[in-house]
Each structure stands twice: as C-alpha cells, then as structure tokens.
Symmetry: C2
Subunit: 226 residues, 2 copies
Amino acid sequence: MIDNKAFYKLSYGLYVVSSIASGRKNGQIANTVFQITSDPLTVAVSINKSNLTHEYIQRSRLIGVSALSEKTPIPFIGRFGFKSGRDIDKFDGVDFKMGESGVPIVLENTTSYFELQVEKEVDTSTHTIFICKVLNAEVIDDSNAMTYKYYQEVKQGRVSRPSVESDVKTSDGKSKYMCQICGYIYNPAVGDETSGIAAGTAFEDLPSNWQCPVCKVSKDEFKKID
Amino acid sequence: MIDNKAFYKLSYGLYVVSSIASGRKNGQIANTVFQITSDPLTVAVSINKSNLTHEYIQRSRLIGVSALSEKTPIPFIGRFGFKSGRDIDKFDGVDFKMGESGVPIVLENTTSYFELQVEKEVDTSTHTIFICKVLNAEVIDDSNAMTYKYYQEVKQGRVSRPSVESDVKTSDGKSKYMCQICGYIYNPAVGDETSGIAAGTAFEDLPSNWQCPVCKVSKDEFKKID
C-alpha cells in the first residue's frame, strides 16, 4: 500500500539551480539539493531531464545553487519555477553574478550559494542526480532558509499547489489555469473571492481586466493546465 | 573560497533508517532521505559506509525509513543517533513492526514510514547513496515532521552540536565527554549550571552521582570525545 501523503513528511529546502552553455544562462527551482560527504565536500542535485537547466548542466558540467531566503516573494519563485528559459531570459532584471567557475549565480533572495562541478551522473527514470565537487560556497545573508514546507504554507489559502494532482483536475468540465509568473491556479469551482468572482465562473468568462490575485499580472499570463 | 556556514542553509529532515540481516535488526538517524522520481516512485537514502545499518542494507537490499515527528524526545534521537547497534539492540523497548518486506520499521515518534528496496547503489567517498523502489508508504500520525534545523534549535542552549567541529575541541587540556544516550556534551570550560558544577571542572572531577542534565543517565553513559 502506498499512501502518497507519506511523502509530504519528507523535508526539503528551496533552491535556484543555475547553469550556462554556449553563453546562455538558465536557472530553475529545485528542492533536492543535499550534502553527501564532508571530506571531500560533495553535494548532490537532482534535476528533471526535460528541463533546459539539465541540458546546460550536462554541457558545462557546472552548477550554481542559491539557497533561497524565507523572505523570498512568491512571484520570484514563480519566475524561476513556472516559466521556461526556452521562452524568456530568467536572469533579466534579476541580481546575479558570474562565479569564478563561469556559472551564473542568483544573488537576489539568496542566503547562501554554491558553485559546483559535476563529477558523476546518476541516471534515474525522469531525473539525473548530479554528484558534485564544491568549488565555492558563500553566505550572502543570515536570514532563515526557505523550506519547501514553508513555501507551501505561505501559498496556502492563496495559491493552490501545482504539484498536487488533485489540484489540476477539472471541475464540471471547466478548465483550471495557472499563472505562469507565480504559480497561482485559478479554479473555476472556487472562483476568486478577492475580485468578487463567483464560484462556477469559467476562466474564459473572467473580465478582461481581471488580474492574478497574487502577483497582479493580466489574464494573458495564464495557461490552461488541463 | 568555501565557507562551511553556507552548508547550514541546506534543509533536511530527520529520519530513522533501519535494516536487517541474518535476523539482526538495526537502525540509525539520517537526514538525507529524498524523493527522486514520482513515476516510478523512487526514494534515495545516503548512509555512511562505516555504519552497521549500511552493512545490513547491502546484505538485505531492504530499507525502512521513519520520518520522525517534531515531538520526538531528544533522548530517542540520541538512542538511534549516538549508540552503535554493535553494542546494543536499539529496538529493545522501542515500538516497531516488521514490514511486509521483512524490514523492521520504527513506529514510535513516527509521522510516516516507507519500506524501500534498493535498486542502485552510488558510491561516494564516505557514503553510499541507495536509490530505491518504494514498496510501502504509510502515514502514522499527522504531526509535523522534524527537520534537522528544528532538532538543532530544540537542542540549542541545552545540548551542544556534535556535528560542529569547534564543539569537540579540548579547552585547557580537559576533555569533553558526550552522553551516548542523548548526545549532550559536557564541556569542562562551561561546567553544568543546572547541577551547580562550576566552569573549569574536569569530567573526571564530577561527583559520582552527577547525571546527564538532559536525559538523566549516569556518568557511565559518557564517552570521551577528544
């Protein structure tokens, strides 16, 4: 018997994992970054094979990791987590630096960062675990690190969880839409009380000046998710 | 430049990882347990090669993981974290069950547990990462999961951190001693205010009826750590 809720009791942090290839930078949100050994210092990072950052890591063998602060605004996480680097330059307007190794490192909302060099790749069905040597590690500020749990709690009540399957099912045939900036999901069965939108209102029937209740972008930034 | 404090910003949970070989059970505390893929359900566990549990896992290919509750008493963590299964039966007096796969699973102070079957081993310098298929997963109770950070915070002020190197250095030639039950470190430079022991008192000079200020065991349970 496998109860999926058992997995909610595993604890993770929240990170921007970045890389570069042929001069093109990209970064994404990840939650599985962990130290494996302390002598030598080894860190493992698990990344979905279909992501652009995965491709860049395999080409450059370099990884930047920024451990996000608890104070990180949700739209910032949305930018790195729900947009694809194939469509936008995620670093545009974001505070970052090029590390000594040549990997880009996000500094905004970062408590500490790491520059890593891939030493080993472990292939699993959908993800690669990159086992890495630590080239550089620095503390940026001493705020608390954001945990995945805390991130979900901050979003709770205001934002649905895109990772939970039941959140992306249709209700009475009307589709849900996700904000590509912050990850907010508009659920027609619920509506949007903050804007006076009644439960049962289809996304298509929302007024054209309706905005994302979390990050205030327009309807154009939403994408159908089922 | 590598600042070790940067690693404190990585987030982990706190788990009892258990296994069995030739009918002998063992378990230990670990903080690196994480889901790698969801289809198929895959979980990775990193274990120090010198630990007895590591030996049992390699022999049986079975792992039990108990995600500890935030309410877990520190001495319980000490039992699984600071004692060796080579010296005591850690399961003696502890609430556990034998899982369907034959692996022992700690139920006490557990929010959810997993039965895992090893599918792949990744060798790193001091640790093995076991990549595992999930056989069973169940929620025991819905309390919050203990994080490694929370565990350190609970201990703060009362218990030193055995993982921080500066904690285990001698002061003026007098040795520190660690409680093998709960992990409390007696530091002669600090003494033990709760029992009226002045700073500068060597462990050897403590009265014979002195007790661990955290878990109340006798001096016999302490071991010199430097």
